[in-house]
């Protein structure tokens, strides 16, 4: 097991002991850190104090949950604790966790990606969040499920965006429908729709250019792309995936609102969760637009993709790296 953990070469008994000691030390360090203290406070059988609630609120703010939202959540848990007559910090902790997990749990009607053919996915979001990389990961996933995937390079604006998608597609082994840089994204979507139809592909994934939600004209363009596929298949796009960077702060909520309005977002994907950011803005977003988080991105290779799990997400919020 140690060999797996520490990268292959044989290690002496002493080296292993040293490694273990190092790990322990770093764990110790974490425990004495700011967040560690809060975690410890919860774990122990300490009583619930005012200070505890304050620090808890701060923990949520530090995780980008948002000041007002954090206050609301803490107030609610506090009330419930009092109503239930809970006394220990550890009890408060699990109550808070379940409250947070509940907040991420929304149930919305969705098309089955197994039985819908073709299943059309439109990927949207602000600049640089990880849309194109996510599409690489998704095509890999669908391909592994035995599906025929077609990609549409509808980001015709950013320098080398088409090359980037093509590169990933070659690596995964799926075709890309593209035109020249600067071409009309709607026209690319149209070509891809035709190709998907002609080749009877199972999944069509459309990459779009990053756009800031405050740019009205660019947001309108998404509507156009969406309408192109709708013309062919009434219910397409079946999945409109809004990609959010986990490091995003309070602007994330504004993003989610605007993209939902312009492009009827059906699911969220949170990328870059391999960093230290917790993505706490997701609580406010899921609550407001009532759409679930479907995927998380945890790295830059095609395998760094996971289905979202509320419980681990919430646990990570309580951890210091």
């Amino acid at each position: 097991m140690f060999r797996r953990l520490f990268g292959g070469e044989e290690r002496s008994e002493q080296e292993i002991k040293q490694e273990e000691k190092k790990i322990e030390q770093s764990v110790q360090k974490t425990k004495s850190g700011f967040f560690g203290r809060i975690t410890a406070m919860f774990r122990s059988e300490d009583p619930i104090t005012d200070e505890l609630w304050d620090e808890l609120e701060e923990l949520l703010i530090a995780g980008d949950v948002g000041a007002e939202n954090a206050l609301k959540i803490v107030e609610r848990v506090r009330e419930r604790c009092e109503k239930k007559g809970l006394k220990f910090a550890s009890e408060a902790r699990s109550l808070l966790k379940s409250e947070l997990v509940n907040r991420l749990d929304v149930d919305t009607p969705q098309y089955s990606e197994r039985s819908t053919k073709p299943y059309v996915i439109l990927v949207v979001g602000v600049n640089g969040v990880g849309k194109t990389t996510l599409i690489a990961k998704l095509s890999n996933r669908y391909k592994a499920m035995g599906k025929n995937v077609i990609l549409a390079a509808a980001d015709t604006f950013r320098a080398a965006a088409i090359d980037q998608l093509q590169h990933w597609a070659d690596r995964v082994g799926v075709p890309v429908i593209s035109q020249q840089p600067g071409a009309d994204p709607g026209a690319v979507a149209y070509d891809a729709t035709q190709a998907t139809y002609n080749q009877q592909a199972d999944v069509l994934i459309i990459d779009t250019a990053g756009r800031l939600q405050s740019k009205h004209n660019l947001m309108k363009e998404l509507e156009k792309i969406s309408n192109v596929v709708k013309k062919r298949w009434q219910y397409a796009p079946h999945e409109v995936l809004l990609v959010l960077d986990a490091t995003t702060g309070q602007n994330g909520l504004i993003q989610a609102r605007a993209f939902t309005q312009a492009a009827q977002v059906t699911h969220l994907a949170l990328t870059k969760l391999d960093g230290t950011a917790k993505g706490g803005i997701a609580f406010a977003i899921v609550q407001e637009i009532e759409r679930p988080i479907k995927y998380i991105g945890t790295g830059e290779t095609i395998n760094d993709l996971a289905l979202f799990d509320g419980e681990s997400f919430v646990n990570a919020l309580f951890e210091e790296e």
Binding site: A160, L212, S214
Partner: protein
Amino acid sequence: MFENLSDRLTDVFNRLGSKGRLTESDVDAGLREVRLALLEADVNFKVVKDFVARVREQAIGEEVTKSLTPGQQVIKIVHDELVHLLGDANVPINESKNREQPTIVMLVGLQGAGKTTMAAKLALYMRKKGKTPLLVAADIYRPAAIKQLETLGKQLNIPVFSEGTDVSPPDIAEHALRQARINGNNFVIVDTAGRLQIDERLMGELQQVVERIGPTEIMLVVDAMIGQESVKVAEAFHAKVPLTGLIMTKIDGDARGGAALSMREVTGVPIKFLGTGEKTDAIEPFHPDRLAQRILGMGDVMTLIERAEQVYDKDEAKKMQKKMRKGTFDFEDFLGAMNSMRKLGPLQQILGMIPGIGKQLRQMKDLDEALDDREMKRIEAIIQSMTIKERRNPDLLKDPSRKRRISAGSGTRIEDVNALVKQFREMQRMMKRFGKGGQNPRDLMRMFK
């Protein structure tokens, strides 16, 4: 940009100001709002805490002078502290002192922050200043990263040095430097791959590049939308490679960019540039005082003047500046400015810099809806429905029958005309004040009455 935060602060202190004496509870009520506003603007919570504590201390200790209302006095303290936190003065880009040695700028940061785009922007910006830039493609990891830089270089006709993806970044950087010396490029910009600050291997690689080429500037590029993590990111990069500057990108959106405050505070490194759009000319030098004024709703007259200089020919620019200073800038000039600036790019940017105008436009429409051509056309329509005399002398517009005529002629509501005229007058006053040199903070504060 920061307009929402400024609205909020203005609102808080307007309420405060109307109450008369500055009591401890007044200050606390105001500062609670300041705290929330700053947190909502993504300023790091620890930085907010310190900031609020400092302001509180000063505000409560301060004697209330006759010339300021208590609210104005708190604004002044918040404003001064913000300026201070942002770095007091603009810090220009460092340049190599040795004539033989090119200036070397290295851009570092998290994935997708905008490094590659900024590399191209900087190259163009420095070329306009008479430098001969060389772009260096040292991101060998991200698919098509080299192609991206090459495409931008080709668009701008600026050379790009690349050696594919098989040579290590420290080697590429060193080879590029050699090439720059041979070809006489005196401004070298190294684009590096995005990396997490906790990625030991890639952070180590960054250190190697630094050791190998000894950059004049190492700038951390950060996305304006970043939240509370900005502090950890800035601290970690600064600990590994000695940062000399910060750059905030995507400030053209509606993110409030409070991270600029946080990162400046924890690293002590100045913010040097802002990225204001996807195009290669969307770059602006950063001015702490202007940003603080902007936070407080003062708009950004100085940037406007500077930009105007770039669009107009010199004479015309001088004329316009003079007009702004003397406060004789009229609707005709405004219309002319709108037309010329349209050549420069997004109107949002330009109007956002004019005190009051950005805010007024937002009030006219849905808050979330950005400025688009329709609004611009509306302003144009209003101005075009004025007679030349009215444009030259906005005072004439006090006459309600004139306003009714303009509103009918432009197909807008009378309130729209009123609002535009009112804000225009405020802008004129502001410009005059700025023009008088040495901004008197007391005057600035009067804006909030």
